[in-house]
């Protein structure tokens, strides 16, 4: 067994708490979807999703208690994905800003 395991009873409690939080976030998702939030609709839905994903990655995937190298690999994946999304969107979101075709 690896020596740096935290006490196992605590881990079950942590997982249960995170699962409860995930269910609460699901309820929030359902509640938010009932209203037409206009321009806020996408950020709210995706924001709640980001919080759920962060909980799964940090706690269930144990990134929060992992070595720095594991953090680096996980963060690198996220960083390159962020570059893909943001640079693509800066192109398309800025179409038509300059009417003379610049």
């Amino acid at each position: 067994m690896t020596p740096h395991n935290s006490p196992h009873a605590d881990a079950t409690r942590t997982y249960a708490l995170v699962f409860a939080a995930l269910l609460a976030l699901m309820a929030a998702t359902v509640a938010a979807a009932a209203f037409d939030l206009g321009a806020l609709g996408a950020p709210v839905a995706l924001g709640i999703a980001a919080v759920k994903a962060a909980l799964v990655v940090l706690v269930f995937m144990h990134v929060r208690e992992s070595s720095r190298v594991v953090w680096l690999f996980a963060a690198a994946g996220l960083a390159w994905l962020a570059i893909l999304m943001s640079l693509t969107l800066t192109d398309y979101l800025s179409r038509g800003w300059f009417p003379d075709g610049r």
Binding site: M1, L23, T29, S66, W80
Partner: protein, 258 residues
């Protein structure tokens, strides 16, 4: 995964029962290498789905009306149920890893079985959705039909009709929207993205179920080496990732409907 020892290259059997296999100094390093390998793979998977999602984002920016209409045709409750099913399966997977670390083999087997059942449940609910979409005509390709438009009456065999893009005839709930040029094609584009994204994800779920099943069997027959929890941990990373992908697919495909 824990590599099997090859007799030609392993060092003489050490007195300590738990020795690493291969070029590792100790079991901790072996475990770390396994984890990093899986994380590197998951990063490539994130970019795989990310590429599809970036393309989806671009098309949604250009054709918001048709994409919103597409989202409205998705079953919100089945999608929410599926999300909850996968979140629960991540919970049982985390508990399974803990059982493996504690050496509780029977508990590990039960929790892996629970995860497998929930994953299969996800696929079952997805099939119900797919069947509904096929019945409505929300499929990519020539069989596409806008569900809000009345079906055209066929007077005879028309081979070309299968290859001609179908424009929605008048009479739907929001006539001006349905008659907008290209609306049906853009709705079809949403449908293509929906099937590509959820189909690719479902393929990952199927592979994940196979992986978990194999690990459950190997664990049962004690074939996972001196540190079986490492195998469970690495498989768990893959399963949690599949859950994270769906956590984002659900709002993107089902919830952006206003």
């Amino acid at each position: 995964m824990t590599p099997h020892a090859s007799p030609a290259t392993s060092a003489p059997a050490p007195a300590h029962p738990a020795a690493p296999h291969g070029p590792f100094d100790d079991l901790d390093q072996q475990r770390e290498a396994g984890l990093l390998g899986m994380w590197a793979f998951l990063a490539t998977e994130a970019l795989l789905f990310g590429g599809l999602l970036a393309a989806f984002a671009v098309y949604r920016l250009h054709h918001p009306d048709a994409f919103i209409e597409g989202s409205r045709h998705m079953s919100f409750w089945l999608g929410a149920l599926n999300t909850t099913v996968l979140l629960t399966s991540s919970f049982t997977m985390a508990l399974a890893l803990q059982a493996a670390r504690n050496g509780r083999r029977r508990r590990l087997a039960l929790l892996l079985l629970a995860t497998l059942t929930l994953g299969a449940g996800f696929l079952g609910i997805k099939s119900i959705e797919y069947a509904h979409h096929i019945h409505e005509g929300l499929v990519p390709g020539a069989a596409f039909h806008d569900p809000d438009a009345p079906r055209p009456i066929h007077v005879g065999p028309d081979i070309d009709a299968a290859f001609r893009p179908r424009l929605a005839p008048a009479g739907g709930p929001d006539e001006s929207l349905l008659l907008a040029p290209g609306f049906a094609q853009h709705l079809q584009l949403f449908v293509v993205f929906y099937w590509a994204l959820t189909g690719l994800h479902a393929l990952h779920v199927i592979l994940g179920l196979g992986l978990l099943g194999a690990i459950a069997l190997l664990a049962h027959f004690r074939r996972l080496g001196p540190t079986p929890h490492t195998c469970v941990e690495i498989a768990g990373l893959y399963w949690h990732f599949v859950d994270v992908v769906w956590i984002f697919l659900f709002p993107v495909l089902y919830l952006l409907r206003h």
